[in-house]
């Protein structure tokens, strides 16, 4: 049972100091989670701490590859509207 940080991580450092198991470490090109140490915070906190502070939607996945902070959950911008805005910007 462990979470994973993927390439959309912006290396903001927010998650690392919060991990109760010191499972998160600085690496290039982005932070990583040591799968052997991560407990998904079970027994320590109700919410996975890295997930609760990460500012980037989709940067942390669970073992099934599900985005812990899905699109729209942090920015409040629904994914369809975001896609439309992106398309508009690209069209210019």
């Amino acid at each position: 049972m462990a979470l994973e940080i993927i390439e959309s991580c912006v290396n903001c450092w927010a998650c690392a100091p919060l991990c109760p198991n010191k499972a998160i470490y600085e690496a290039a090109p982005h932070f990583l989670i040591d799968a052997d140490k991560c407990t998904e915070c079970v027994g320590d906190f109700a919410d996975a701490q890295c997930v609760a502070i990460c500012p980037i939607e989709g940067a942390i996945l669970d073992e099934l590859g599900t985005e812990m902070n899905p699109p729209g959950s942090l920015t409040g911008i629904p994914p369809e509207r975001w896609a439309a805005a992106q398309a508009e910007i690209m069209a210019r």
Partner: protein, 484 residues
């Protein structure tokens, strides 16, 4: 008095309209004598002192516990007030080494700040470790810290233990409904909290922290980021409340685009001074010596801080005496709180006014030249032309109505808004301008001018002013535009 003042609105909110400038002699207006004495040798606040003393910032605390809508985390945050630039992250040991190296080399360095990126109090171990070491090794350095305030109440006790000179809290609102538009979420008690509830907690913590600091006798400065259409009106209320609670200064910072600051480099001392919280920035104002103090160079240095402290104390005594003498001479009563962008000798009213009235001109500039297409300009620099020459007085934000070709979408309303932003200016200088905006500008009483492309700004501005003078246009007050 003949001050080149820019005050977009009446400064009734006591410095709320003070633009982005963190300091001017006039900021001291309205302060109690006790606070005035405490800040008058501080390079961040005293116009006098910042010519003699210097400050530096180190970035040691990268993590942040709130999200601001205007921050994308890849760059430094507004806590740090240098949007778009990334600072070198240091460990506390490195930060201490760097501070000692700088202080030994530049005896004028008197203030060390820990600001963004990140929130210093969301990383209290790193921040306090740095402070602890410095308080022990370099008691002659004043320490300051900037925070978003969320963890402030928990840390006041610890802050009071160190040599903390002042704390800056970034407070963008005091109303949770406004806050909900600025902060999408916060991290609070091991959970992510969204929306209005998040703003409510953050505001409560900020205000509580402010009160606790004041009660402990620690100076508190409040920074606000002005977000047009979100908190611009509301900041007057913020100003009133934080001053009533004992903040000694409220500093409003609009988010300044990077290209404007580049355009100002060289001839804009005041603008540089505004960026008072630059991490990595070392040295006296306008004299950044960061390159001398990269980590590898510092590791190689051999620092005798004991010896350096003597030198530093001597210098401080000398400067203090000089400043004191200057103040004795000036003994000026506190001026009203307005932003003075350029010091300029006063003229008495009796002196005959020079021929030709003052004219505000907007310039689409890059690198000190009239070099930007009107439709591509993100900001305009505003100059005041008169017989005394061209003076920079401020800047206006433009919405780019043309991102690509001339025919793009809803250009018109954006153009209208840009023209509105230029209100009060009689001329706009740019490298090129389209046919349609030309007509609209003329209709609004603003003369477009593309004849001085690639010329230095001040020369171009004065050339246009002289043409206007020769054409007899400068005798009367303009009818359409009101002069600021």
């Amino acid at each position: 008095m003949d001050l080149p003042v820019i005050a977009p609105e009446a400064p009734q909110a006591g410095g709320c309209s003070a633009g982005s400038c963190g300091s001017s002699a006039d900021q001291m207006g309205g302060m109690s004598d006790e606070i005035r004495a405490r800040v008058q040798d501080h390079p961040c606040y005293s116009e006098d002192a910042h010519h003699y003393f210097a400050r530096m910032h180190v970035a040691v605390a990268p993590a942040c516990n709130i999200q601001c809508h205007y921050c994308n985390r890849k760059y430094d945050c507004a806590n740090e007030s240098r949007p778009g630039v990334v600072s070198e992250l240091l460990t506390p040991d490195q930060a201490v080494k760097k501070t000692l190296a700088v202080a030994a080399t530049i005896p004028q360095m008197t203030v060390l700040g820990i600001a963004g990126p990140g929130d210093p109090l969301a990383n209290p171990e790193r921040t306090f470790e740095t402070f602890r070491q410095l308080a022990a090794k370099a008691p002659d350095i004043k320490l300051c810290v900037s925070t978003n305030g969320l963890s402030l109440p928990d840390n006041v006790e610890e802050l009071a233990k160190h040599n903390i000179d002042h704390v800056t809290i970034t407070i963008n609102c005091v109303d949770p409904d406004v806050g909900a538009k600025i902060y999408p979420w916060i991290f609070w008690q091991n959970k992510r909290i969204h929306g209005r509830e998040a703003a409510e907690i953050l505001i409560a913590q900020q205000q509580k922290g402010l009160e606790m600091l004041v009660a402990k006798g620690i100076l508190v400065k409040v920074n606000s980021v002005l977000i047009p259409g979100v908190n611009d009106e509301h900041l007057k209320e913020v100003s009133k409340i934080v001053k009533a609670k004992g903040a000694f200064l409220h500093n409003v910072m609009p988010l300044i685009a990077e290209n404007l600051q580049d355009a100002c480099e060289g001839d804009m001392n005041m603008m540089r001074h505004c960026r008072q919280c630059r991490a990595d920035a070392v040295g006296l104002l306008g004299e950044d010596r960061g390159d001398e103090f990269t980590m590898d160079k510092i590791e190689a240095m051999d620092i005798d801080y004991e010896a350096a402290m003597t030198v530093r104390a001597e210098l401080r005594a000398k400067v203090t005496a000089e400043l004191e003498a200057k103040r004795q001479k000036a003994h000026a009563p506190p001026a009203p709180q307005v932003v003075q962008f350029m010091p300029r000798p006063h003229k008495s009213a009796q002196e005959s006014a020079p021929a030709g009235r003052r004219v505000l001109m907007a310039v689409a500039a890059k690198g000190g030249l009239v070099a930007v297409h009107f439709g591509h300009a993100k900001e305009f620099l505003v100059y005041e032309a008169s017989a005394d020459g061209a003076k920079f007085v401020g800047h206006r934000k433009a919405e780019q109505y043309c991102a690509g070709d001339e025919t793009c979408g809803d250009g018109e309303s954006v153009l209208d808004r840009t023209i509105k932003a230029l209100e009060g200016c009689e001329v706009v200088l740019c490298s090129k301008i389209g046919f349609e905006p030309w007509g609209n500008l003329e209709a609004a009483g603003i003369a477009p001018n593309g004849e001085h492309a690639m010329e230095p700004i001040e020369e171009a501005v004065m050339a246009v002013w002289n043409e206007m003078l020769a054409a007899g246009k400068l005798d009367a007050k303009p009818s359409a535009a009101k002069c600021a």
